[in-house]
Symmetry: C2
Subunit: 186 residues, 2 copies
């Protein structure tokens, strides 16, 4: 034994979490994962029956990590408006930390075929939870304010990845502020 501080399964998952996000799902091979995780190939297939299953577990792990960090930002605020703005600040924080690699789930969406229901469902569930997150903050409003904020949030993530710049987040925040003043968002 190499006296690793964490068990092989977690080393694999941690490495997949990093590599899939940095390089993409298809661009990352099993061999690179086991090499950087310091794990034998047979060990990987002992814990995950295929690369796709590892992909699903990757999304599950990312889901937990991502929402936990998001809530660290939003829970610190009390007012509705400030909670929303804090969510956008979280996006900017992630961009800085992860070099504008964007959303793991949307990146995966672009890589899979539409008939890959296993992965597609994981992605949809994550986004459904994010929609619910904004609905919980804003409540059900006739004008679908929560979904408008959700869509601004999503494009802020995508467009900042695309332009490698935080301006889409700043513009989205400004729009949210304006819409609050106009009482479109309450």
């Amino acid at each position: 034994m190499k006296h690793h501080p964490i068990v092989p399964r977690e080393r694999i998952l941690d490495t997949a979490l990093r590599l899939f996000h940095e390089q993409g799902y298809h661009a990352t091979g099993i061999n690179q994962i086991i090499s950087e995780a310091g794990v034998a190939k047979a060990s990987l297939y002992l814990h995950f029956k295929s690369k796709e299953e590892l992909g699903i577990e990757y999304l599950n792990a990312r889901q937990d990590l991502w929402f936990t960090q998001l809530r660290l930002f939003t829970d610190a605020e009390k007012k509705t408006r400030k909670k929303i703005l804090a969510a956008f600040d979280f996006l900017a924080y992630v961009n800085e930390n992860e070099h504008f690699r964007g959303c793991s789930f949307l990146n995966m969406l672009s890589e899979i075929r539409p008939d890959n229901y296993a992965l597609l469902t994981s992605i949809q569930n994550h986004k459904q939870e994010l929609r619910q997150f904004f609905t919980d903050i804003l409540g059900e409003q006739k004008n679908d304010a929560a979904d408008i904020v959700y869509m601004l949030f999503e494009s802020a993530a995508t467009e900042s990845q695309l332009f490698k710049n935080q301006w889409p987040i700043e513009k989205a925040k400004q729009a949210v502020s304006d819409l609050c003043k106009l009482k479109y968002i309450k």
Copy 2:
């Protein structure tokens, strides 16, 4: 000769246009392209020096096709508000025709590494032109109305791909209408 109605280079590009969009860039191999285009491998490498160059030409061709079709929708309208809404109708039309495969450029963005400047620049140029398209319609407004519309447009495309449903487009259209009534968009 097989009496093909169009020359090999166009057959390759047409096939790439279809396959890259349907299956993704990495998931589509050169062999499938030449096979479905009815072209010899040496012919492909006669017209394109690498797969990446074909990828760039693919984006260029998509850019022309996409904007031409978009303008067919928007040019038919005279009022600012109706022009914008027509752009969203174009999105819904594309979703129907292409089975909710989303935006070719954003899909490519998710597949490439951030240091692939050749492809990244093509993608950025396309989106920059789209931003300009909305700015041309809406004019320069203090509140960045054009960029807000741009961001709603982008997420409408992405989210309808994700949920395989037109609701994000409908909600974005409703938001645009509301913002017009509130004089946020003029």
